[in-house]
């Protein structure tokens, strides 16, 4: 509090000073639409020096009545305006040149700068480009549009999370996702909770040089998001409504030839897999023949239901519904010269293709600003409510895969009363009906998010501004898992009659020797389950910045800021896993046993001191630098005040050498270079971006042993991590050079960058051999080298009265190589292996992400077949079968080396067609789902040879003494369940595929409805109807018949592995009507 009082005292003092000065003429430069044009030069005609307008176009200049003001700037055509009244505010409209080179970008700390003055690379995406195809998550609207930016939508569930990286990865276990800054304040809430329609612009500061002023949080670049604050126009009310349909588009390739047999019966008679076993979950049975065969076991009344034994190509697809998302947006914006005001509300209600998965999101925003002479106050306030009700996707999908192809899956929706779909009647002896799971295993999540910003600016003199910003983020999440009870009829425990189909599938053979329904016997009555947790995250930011903006001499401009930035973050987490409860009253007081409890409280603080200065010479040469140092409560006293800095420069060569711009072909040439040293301490929090999640890493701790306390008896053990009192943020040193060309009066621009980021003192939770007594040690030890190039080509291909065709092509090349991890340590596991592990099957049977020295980061490692020195698979001379190697091998890098993005926008009269496509290539992904399908026999892969024995491709036979001969005639001894579930299910390498893909991300056609349609009324100002589609096409190599290579288990660094936890990729079609009043 003391701080605020002092601050206000200073503000008041400064105000008094200001009022005692001479009056000036003030005004504002805007474009034809009334949008502010920043940084224009304003001069009195015939006078000596001029002044520069600020970021909002405001200027103040000494002048007398009758003077002529000349407004000029590199991106505008010069305008002259005569002063008629010195006491009135002068609004000057200018015309902006058609070029992207002159745009103004919002940089770190919310400082607006001209793009040409920057020594580092940024990209600006306007709000309206984000919402072309009405994405729910703004990051989906950015995909493919910016070089160096990779956005992975990691699954296609309800409000699917995304992983965002700029210029690839640097940190091995720290967060590699950029810092998000909304309206100048660090933003901790989920970025997807922002309403895309509220976004004015997103400025992407790609490298760490651009974000260096954030010091120990700066190494991953920044997404600077500016929300709408209203304009100085008349009141505008906009309403839009969108309906989107989502359909499953890309399922794995299923076999539709073979039905139920799990191999337990007649298992080793390779020539007789001809018995159809009606209750089996695996598809290793006889080939479909169209005969009528029993469905599961006899029902409780003794009746046996029959189904045709034939393939059902759409069986899996029919399980999923058509998802529907309704989106309604309302916004109201108003303002005048001194005040602005923006109010909006958004309601999204969404039904996912996964049966029963529904969600709702409501976002409200209230932004505004008011200027009182030299004092401006603005604020933004937003509240987000999100609720999600989802099932366990992986469990449902697993059960879908465990449904042999002739089973009439989609007719078994009614699990309550359809006798074939109930727990007792469902055909599968081992697993539940997926519809039952979808209905009875529910994850309920309710999030509330609040973000508020208060921002005061005082301009006591024209060259100085003092700003104070107070930001608060508060989010809470309430989570509950509810699982219904599973109860079986007595008949499932006692009736052991089953009817198999004989070897030709034409008759039934009764059998009472196979026991009763397996799942009933094994699970019995299963009690309901209830687990719940609450989490909250509070962030307070308090920044003070003093900036000056002045002409030092005729030719030199100086923009400089100094300031402090204070952050306090608190995290609270409480969980009660009651596990079983007596009845489906989902409350922890119903628990049947001792619950598992969890609690965490973390608080951490940081205070940064920074300075930032840019020196401009004649508007064509710029030198910029920034410096920052932090006190971080998480680090030891010795590791405070670590310096971070950036030096960058920009030179507009076409201004220096006029010859360069007089040519007919090109008219603009800029070169820039940057060097910076920044930090990243998120590894303290295992990659979470939240400050408080990384607290308490410097002291050793003990934790309670599982099961304790036993009636009053405590038991503790050491944590398996070596605490490190000397840990400090990892350091990223970035070098960047760029060049920018403008051709044909800047109708065509080309921007190229090269960057190299070297991570040193990288924080690793280095795995230690258990023989050291620990399993991990938090160390500053790793080094990586991340480098790449970015090319952006933008142009107006056609520009005429009726036509405007804009095309943007961006290309990024990125490689992050692990130089070292820790001393001799050559590998570091980034993720736990995904998928299930069966008894006796080692975790290594699944692929997993690793950092490996001298390899790209990350790579997929897993078990491979035993191979000869030339890479051929060695098979047994008798069985024809390969064997599985005992150690993990590198199966490929998991991040794309090449990314191409293409955007196109064609405008013809009232029609606009926009499209975004992208390509990612040069990487691999591990499809765990393929392993599941090898287990169930549901993939076409398992039926490629019609289950006929074959010579293992590219195989050799070991003749001893290092001699290997090509195998031409030893066929595998079984091409059925002994091969696939028995062997292929236990090896990772066959399931690692090229992840390359072209995707058509967005296509939208919008029609600007002519006003004459609305007759003479003046109410409607604009009406636009848009038809759009997202994820319309995905082109993958033939080998990847499994899933979307963009998917991964979560948004962590462990990319390159997907599993049954991600439902099949979908397509989205939508229509939007937007009306402005």
């Amino acid at each position: 509090m003391r701080k605020f009082v002092l601050l206000f005292a200073v503000l008041v003092m400064c105000s008094l000073l200001a009022f005692s000065q001479t009056k000036n003429v003030s005004g504002k430069v805007t474009d034809a639409q009334g949008q502010p044009v920043p940084f224009a030069t304003v001069k009195v005609k015939g006078g000596k020096a001029g002044v520069a307008a600020d970021a909002d176009g405001n200027f103040t200049i000494k002048a007398k009545q009758g003077d002529v003001l000349v407004i000029s700037g590199s991106g505008i055509t010069s305008v002259e305006s005569t002063i008629t009244d010195v006491s009135s505010f002068i609004a000057i409209k200018v015309t902006q040149k058609q070029s992207t080179l002159n745009e103004v970008v919002v940089t770190a700390l919310g400082i607006s700068r001209q793009a040409k003055s920057l020594g580092y690379t940024t990209e600006k995406i306007s709000g309206k480009d984000l919402i072309v195809a009405q994405p729910i998550d703004i990051t989906n609207g950015l995909t493919g549009k910016v070089s160096g930016l990779e956005i992975n939508t990691v699954n296609n569930g309800l409000f699917a999370p995304t992983r965002v990286t700029l210029r690839g990865n640097r940190s091995l276990i720290g967060n590699n996702q950029p810092l998000t800054v909304v309206d100048g304040a660090i933003f901790y809430n989920d970025i997807s909770t922002l309403n895309a329609a509220d976004i004015e612009s997103v400025n992407i500061l790609k490298g760490s040089s651009a974000s260096a002023v954030y010091g120990s949080d700066a190494s991953n670049g920044v997404m600077v998001i500016t929300t709408k604050h209203g304009s100085n126009n008349k009141a505008v009310l906009t309403y839009s409504t969108t309906t989107q349909l989502e359909k499953v588009a890309y399922l794995p390739s299923f076999q539709t030839k073979f039905g139920n047999n799990g191999g337990e019966y007649y298992v080793y008679n390779y020539n007789d897999l001809s018995t159809y076993i009606p209750f089996e979950n695996q598809s290793y049975g006889p080939q479909f023949n169209g005969a009528m065969v029993p469905y599961g076991r006899p029902l409780s009344d003794g009746t046996l239901h029959y189904i045709p034994y034939s393939g059902n190509p759409n069986q899996k697809k029919d399980f999923f519904n058509t998802g529907i998302t309704e989106q309604n947006n309302l916004s109201y914006s108003a303002g005048d010269d001194k005040s602005r005001f923006y109010l909006s509300a958004q309601d999204i209600s969404s039904k996912n293709p996964m049966p029963g998965d529904v969600g709702r999101r409501d976002v409200f925003r209230f932004n505004g600003s008011r200027t009182y002479g030299i004092f401006t106050a603005d604020f933004s306030l937003s509240y987000t409510y999100t609720s999600k009700n989802t099932t366990n996707t992986g469990t449902v999908y697993d059960m879908i895969l465990n449904t042999p192809n002739e089973e009439p899956l989609s007719s078994l929706k009614n699990w309550q009363s359809n006798p074939l779909a109930t727990l007792d009647g469902y055909f599968n002896d081992y697993f539940y009906n997926p519809y039952w799971i979808a209905a009875n295993q529910r994850n309920l999540t309710t999030d509330n998010g609040l973000q508020g910003n208060l921002h005061f600016v005082l301009r006591p003199v024209k060259w100085l501004s003092l700003q104070y910003r107070l930001g608060v983020n508060y989010s809470t999440e309430k989570y509950a898992y509810q699982q219904g009870e599973a109860d079986y009829d007595q008949h499932s425990f006692t009736d052991d009659t089953t009817y198999f189909s004989n070897s030709t599938g034409t008759g039934v053979v009764p059998n009472t020797n196979f026991g009763t329904k397996w799942i009933a016997v094994n699970n019995g009555y299963t009690q309901p389950v209830y687990n719940t947790s609450t989490a909250s995250n509070f962030l307070l930011t308090s920044d003070f910045v003093a900036s000056l903006n002045t002409k030092l001499t005729k030719d030199f401009d100086l923009n400089a800021s100094v300031g402090t930035s204070y952050v306090d973050n608190q995290i609270n987490y409480l969980s009660v896993n009651a596990n079983n409860i007596f009845f489906p009253v989902y409350n922890i007081t119903s628990l049947t046993g001792i619950p598992t409890l969890g609690q965490f409280f973390g608080e951490a603080r940081k205070l940064g001191f920074f300075g930032d200065a840019q020196l401009g010479y004649k508007e064509f040469a710029y030198l910029h630098g920034s410096y920052r140092s932090d006190i971080d409560s998480r680090l030891s006293t010795a590791n405070r005040f670590i310096p971070y800095y950036d030096v960058d420069a920009s030179l507009v060569l076409s201004e220096v050498i006029p010859a360069l711009k007089n040519g007919n072909t090109w008219d603009f040439l800029k070169v820039n270079a940057a060097y910076s040293v920044t930090g990243n301490a998120t590894a303290l929090a295992a990659g979470q971006p939240y400050l408080a999640a990384g607290a308490y890493q410097t002291t050793p701790t003990l934790n309670s042993v599982a099961g304790f306390p036993f009636s009053g008896l405590g038991g503790y053990q050491l944590t398996t991590n070596v605490a490190n009192p000397n840990i400090k943020p990892e350091t990223v040193t970035e070098k960047e050079v760029g060049i920018e060309f403008g051709f044909l009066k800047s109708r065509l621009t080309l921007h190229g960058d090269y960057y190299d980021q070297k991570l040193t003192n990288g924080i690793v939770k280095a795995s230690l051999p258990s023989s050291s007594g620990y399993q991990t040690a938090l160390l500053n030890a790793a080094n990586t080298d991340n480098h790449g190039i970015e090319l952006d080509l933008k142009g107006n291909i056609i520009q005429s009265k009726d036509w405007l065709w804009k095309v943007g092509i961006n290309y990024s090349y990125n490689e992050c190589k692990v130089i070292s991890i820790n001393g001799n340590l050559t590998t570091l596991n980034i993720s736990a292996a995904s998928g299930t592990n069966f008894k006796g099957q080692s975790t290594a049977a699944n692929g997993s992400s690793y950092a490996v020295v001298n390899q790209l980061y990350p790579v997929i490692e897993g078990n491979d077949w035993v191979r000869d020195p030339n890479g051929h698979v060695i098979v047994n001379a008798v069985t024809g079968l390969p064997s599985i190697g005992s150690s993990l091998v590198n199966l490929g890098n998991a991040t794309p080396k090449d990314i191409v993005g293409i955007t196109s926008s064609v405008q013809w009269k009232n029609f606009t067609l926009t499209a975004t496509a992208d390509y990612r290539g040069g990487y691999k992904t591990y499809n765990n789902i393929a392993q599941f399908m090898a287990f169930t026999g549901s993939s076409s892969y398992t039926a490629a040879t019609n289950r006929e024995r074959f010579v293992f491709p590219n195989s050799v036979i070991d003749e001893g003494g290092g001699k290997y001969v090509t195998n031409t005639n030893v066929i595998v001894n079984d091409a059925n369940f002994n091969l696939f579930p028995g062997l292929f299910n236990n090896v990772a390498s066959p399931w690692v595929q090229s992840a390359a893909a072209w995707k058509l991300r967005e296509v939208a056609v919008s029609y600007n409805i002519p006003m004459k349609v609305f007759g003479t009324q003046k109410l409607v100002k604009q009406a636009v109807f848009t038809v759009s589609g997202r994820n319309l096409l995905m082109l993958r190599p033939k080998t990847n018949q499994w899933s979307d290579p963009e998917f991964s288990e979560d948004t962590s660094n462990a990319v390159g592995e997907n599993s049954i936890n991600q439902a099949p990729p979908t397509r989205i079609f939508g229509a939007t009507l937007s009306v402005t009043f």
Partner: protein, 513 residues
């Protein structure tokens, strides 16, 4: 201009002051103490925790593979065969919990020594730590041969410990156990007894620390006996067993009748984590659902047939459950069987009530029966004085007791006296060592299979221990050891490389002939 710069400087100073004044002196020291978990506890909390972890380490799944090797268990016919298991193609991850968890528990006992060191009344904790460490070190050597020992457990200082020769470790363990016994004997009269936190011997009728000495001596015997076939073993065995006496009762140096080394902190069925570890692995969930391993591991036909052949049905029906057929009998499945017909879980027996007792049962980490069989063997070999036959008899009785036979003495006595089978009747046997070892093999089934694996690797008994019948299996005997875990190859690569190429079927433990 100069004036202007001066004003900037003034402003900059003002800002720095403003930024700092709001912060009190301790604003940035809030992370020095973790409010969520303790950073220091008294040694008793480590003792209870580490003993419970040891119980899980020994009895919750890590030894399942040895049950398969030793002909006790087979893989269920209800499941897809996992080729690697059935062909002994172990990977470096195969049952690596034996390594990883072993070292983590060792580190906790080591930490207990550190915490106890400053307190002259806490010497009993130091002694107990040394004994428990020896127990775990031996399990590591017996499964992995050479291991990091001298430099181990020093993470933070020594992150990559070098390997010690297994023989050196063994010799050192005997010294360590002697040291522990000396510490107990020299304890101050005021020395603290861990009592209820000693969830193994806290309530021992023979006295808490006296029983720890018996346990220490039994471990010395266990280590010594493994050396009977090693070149330089004899002198070490003699040193280890010097001054120790065998006894069938509770008066000798070792764990005697009814003196199981068994851990029980108060196991209950109230939560998954409070269940007795073997029950948790092989039994049922708190709500009674079958755990995976209950249906996956089933009786092996080798031990079932052996016990039928020796008329050992009382123990057999305690060890394995009768099947779901009529009539209901105990039936085993050959390991690696190629047949599923009549070999599914409807036919093949699960664990019986003598092994799979209750969720509240104590976790035995070294049963009295094993101690008595070892004493019998040591007497038979001449390393100890005593009556091998009487020790053998008590050992068999103790096995019946452990399997929950209420008339264990009478049933055991009639079993061994009425049988003429030399594998049962010690007096009639012309190979008494084999009789001891075979009955020990039966007795430790489902409890301490590592003991019988050690015996087989050392003495080749049972002589006809079968290998997997699986079609792809080429091994002619069961494996000799585990491969070092992936964690060593990945994270301690330089040091593990010194051990050369390890083959689980041919690389031997140092004490193997």
């Amino acid at each position: 201009m100069f004036k202007r710069i001066k004003s900037y400087l003034y402003l900059a100073t003002l800002i720095l002051v403003l930024g700092s004044v709001g912060c009190k002196k301790n604003t940035f020291n809030i992370n020095d103490v973790n409010p969520n978990v303790p950073s220091d506890v008294s040694p008793k909390f480590i003792l209870s925790g580490a003993l419970v972890n040891t119980a899980s380490y020994v009895r919750n799944g890590n030894s399942d593979y040895i049950e398969l090797y030793m002909g006790y268990w087979s893989v269920s016919g209800d499941y897809i065969p996992v080729t690697q298991t059935l062909t002994y193609q172990t990977t470096t991850d195969y049952y690596s919990g034996n390594w990883d968890n072993g070292y983590l528990i060792l580190k906790n006992f080591r930490q207990m020594e550190v915490l106890a060191a400053p307190d002259p009344n806490a010497t009993n904790y130091i002694a107990i730590a040394k004994i428990m460490e020896a127990f775990i070190w031996q399990r590591l050597v017996d499964q992995y041969n050479d291991i990091p020992y001298t430099n181990a457990l020093n993470g933070g200082t020594i992150n990559f410990p070098v390997y010690d020769k297994a023989a050196t470790v063994y010799a050192s363990l005997i010294n360590q156990l002697d040291t522990a016994i000396t510490i107990i004997n020299n304890a101050l009269p005021t020395a603290e007894l861990p009592g209820s936190y000693d969830v193994m011997f806290g309530n021992a009728p023979n006295g808490e620390m006296a029983t720890w000495i018996q346990f220490a001596n039994t471990l010395k015997l266990k280590i010594a006996l493994n050396l009977t076939k090693s070149a330089s073993g004899t002198s070490l065995i003699q040193t280890a067993l010097q001054g120790l006496t065998a006894s069938t009762g509770q008066t000798g140096s070792f764990l005697g009748a009814s003196e199981d080394a068994a851990i029980n902190p108060g196991y209950s069925n109230s939560s998954y984590y409070q269940q007795s570890p073997f029950y948790n692995d092989m039994g049922f969930s708190t709500s009674g659902a079958v755990q995976n391993n209950e249906s996956y591991y089933r009786a092996c036909s080798y031990i079932v047939n052996f016990m039928y052949n020796t008329a050992d049905t009382i123990r057999l029906y305690q060890m394995f459950a009768p099947n779901a057929q009529t009539p209901s009998v105990v039936l085993g499945r050959p390991f690696g069987s190629n047949v599923s017909v009549n070999q599914d879980n409807q036919h093949i027996s699960a664990m019986g009530p003598g092994l799979l007792q209750l969720p509240t049962s104590s976790a035995v980490i070294l049963p009295a029966t094993e101690s008595l069989f070892m004493q019998a063997e040591a007497v038979f070999d001449g390393y100890l004085q005593g009556d091998a036959g009487a020790l053998y008899q008590t050992a068999v009785e103790e096995s019946f007791r452990a399997l929950q036979d209420p008339n264990y003495q009478a049933d055991a006595d009639s079993f061994i006296t009425q049988s003429t089978n030399p594998n049962v009747n010690f007096t009639n046997s012309n190979n008494q060592l084999q009789t001891i070892i075979l009955q020990e093999w039966v007795a430790v089934s489902g409890v301490d299979p590592l003991a019988s694996w050690n015996n087989w690797r050392r003495l080749g008994i049972p002589t006809d221990l079968p290998v997997s019948q699986f079609s792809g299996n080429v091994a002619t005997h069961v494996p000799y050891r585990l491969l070092y875990p992936t964690s060593e190859y990945h994270y301690n690569s330089t040091n593990v490389a010194v051990e050369g190429t390890i083959n689980n079927l041919t690389s031997k433990i140092f004490w193997m002939p």
